[in-house]
């Protein structure tokens, strides 16, 4: 049974359907990259998977014990966070909220998990620092730690390397790869960076107006959609 299975899903925004009859699935331990040009519905699809937006048609099925609220989500950064006074520890701890239910306070177990994840991502030393004072790469690690606190099975990242320099981007990809392999956590990432997507991912989902592709990364490189998108030919 797959973690997530999309069956004939159509989604859209502002009354326009952007994705039609999409089928794909994510299994335990997969690394899926969702690529495609702007406006092809990548972010809308992410919102539908998270349950923030209803699908127009079809259904998204969760399996293998994964619940919709147990996806480790790493959203695009918002304007609010640029001057938000919060310590790294507070931000990471908020990832444990989905295991809290109505209970108001965190337990010692929650705190242990937080320190464990911070250790794993090498941000342990930053725990008392203010989130807004961190560098872009450090911020993404903090948000990744928060996402890991919220999930045991699946990470969902929405363009996580936007605005990071090439070296930090590379480190971030390495880190994701390690988490994917060592912790057996499936990764779904929306990305603009097709070259890296093919390099790291096990599967690719390509969205565009006229073609859809879902398959392994190796098959994608041989496919027509992959060749045009990767080859850097005039593709406007």
């Amino acid at each position: 049974m797959a973690l997530i299975k999309c069956e004939n899903v159509s989604v859209g925004y502002e009354g326009q359907t952007v994705i039609k009859d999409l089928n794909f699935q994510i299994a335990n331990g997969d690394y899926l990259c969702i690529v495609g040009e702007n406006g092809s519905g990548k972010s809308t699809l992410v919102k539908s998977i998270l349950g923030l937006k209803a699908v127009e048609k079809g259904r998204i099925v969760f399996g293998d014990g994964l619940r919709q609220t147990e996806i480790g989500y790493l959203p695009q950064q918002t304007e609010v966070q640029k001057d938000f006074p919060a310590s790294v520890y507070e931000v990471v701890l908020s990832g444990r909220l989905n295991s809290r239910g109505l209970r108001p306070f965190y337990t010692a177990q929650d705190r242990r998990t937080v320190y464990e994840k911070m250790e794993m991502l090498g941000i342990h030393a930053l725990s008392r620092q203010c989130f807004r004072d961190l560098s872009g790469g450090q911020k993404q690690r903090v948000l990744l730690a928060r996402a890991l606190c919220a999930t045991k099975k699946l990470l969902l990242l929405d363009e996580p390397v936007t605005g990071l320099d090439p070296i930090v981007t590379g480190e971030f990809y390495q880190l994701l790869c390690k988490i994917n392999r060592e912790q057996k956590i499936a990764v779904v990432m929306v990305s603009h960076d097709v070259e890296s997507a093919v390099e790291y991912a096990s599967h690719i989902l390509h969205l565009s107006e006229d073609t859809q592709f879902f398959g392994t990364a190796a098959a994608y490189q041989k496919s027509r959609a992959g060749k045009t998108f990767l080859g850097g030919e005039a593709y406007v």
Binding site: L50, G51, L52, Q68, T69, E70, I71, Y73, P75, T78, V80, Q81, D83, F84, P85, A86, S87, E90, V91, S94, G95, L97, N98, R100, P104, F105, Y106, R128, Q129, C130, D133, R146, A150
Partner: protein, 275 residues
């Protein structure tokens, strides 16, 4: 020194003002941190104008002011929040429209009934004498409710303030908590506005949060500092107003402004020293 303090506290209205004022200052500071960070500060201002209109109408029809004003302002708070989350109408324009509209209704009602007199002045700029013993009881209960809800939902309020999308994705009902914050803000504003004045009460929401953010680096410390600072500024402001025979609302705002400037200078100095 001791005698003058004892004399000040021998007036029941001063005791009431200190009591209700401190509680309202505490509640509004806590709520203010979320509102300021979520860029909702203007909602406080809008609600206080709606409160002015509601109080004017209540006086005109001889009803108990708080029990008329609270439901109306709570409704306005929910409405303002709805408009804000609807991107088709510009939130700030809608807030301005509602607040000036309510202000106009209030002024109209007052001029048609009692006429423009000291009542209007008191509504606008506040009066330390405004609280009756019954108001005090209601204020105490409502402030206790605000504080308990805030502590109980503190973690969720943090999550919703910091990152609403993530909170929603992990199953936190963000709209519920946003509405809760707006409703609690509405109640706090109505309680505070008769002492502080409709035009000045939103300062209780905005100042403590902004001041604390100059120096504090964590959410918890901002919350605690805002709460403490807000109460201190209110008490100092009331004492000033008593001894200088100055309007209470304006005194409290000026003390808050001074605190903000002091914190800003300290913040700049600290940053300069570090780098």
């Amino acid at each position: 020194m001791f005698e003058t303090v004892a004399q000040m506290l021998s007036y029941p209205f001063m005791v009431r003002a200190f009591l209700v004022g401190s509680l309202v200052a505490l509640c509004s500071a806590l709520l203010g941190v979320s509102l300021v960070l979520k860029r909702y500060s203007m909602i406080g201002d809008g609600l206080s104008h709606v409160g002015f209109g509601a109080l004017a109408v209540a006086t005109a029809v001889n009803a108990a002011p708080l029990s008329v004003a609270i439901p109306i302002v709570v409704l306005a708070a929910i409405l303002l929040l709805r408009i804000r989350s609807n991107t088709r109408i510009k939130g700030d324009a809608a807030t301005a429209m509602i607040s000036t509209g309510a202000l106009a209704v209030g002024v109209m009602v007052i001029s048609m009934t009692t006429g423009m007199n000291t009542d209007v002045y008191n509504y606008m700029f506040g009066s330390i004498l405004a609280m009756s013993a019954q108001d005090v009881k209601l204020s105490l209960i409502l402030c206790a409710v605000v504080l308990i809800l805030y502590v109980f939902f503190y973690q969720k309020i943090f999550a919703v303030t910091f990152d609403e999308t993530f909170a929603l994705a992990t199953g936190v009902r963000a709209n519920l908590y946003n509405t809760m914050i707006a409703v609690l803000t509405a109640v706090t504003i109505v309680l505070g506005m008769r002492m502080m004045g409709a035009l000045l009460v939103s300062s209780l929401i905005i100042f403590p949060a902004l001041t604390s953010m100059r120096l504090c680096k964590t959410f918890k410390s901002v919350i605690i500092s805002a709460g403490v600072l807000s109460v201190i500024c209110l008490v100092v402001g009331l004492i000033l107003s008593y001894f200088c025979a100055a309007p209470a609302g304006a005194s409290v705002v000026l003390v808050n402004l001074t605190a903000f400037l002091v914190y800003s200078v300290l913040g700049i100095a600290r940053n300069a020293r570090r780098g």
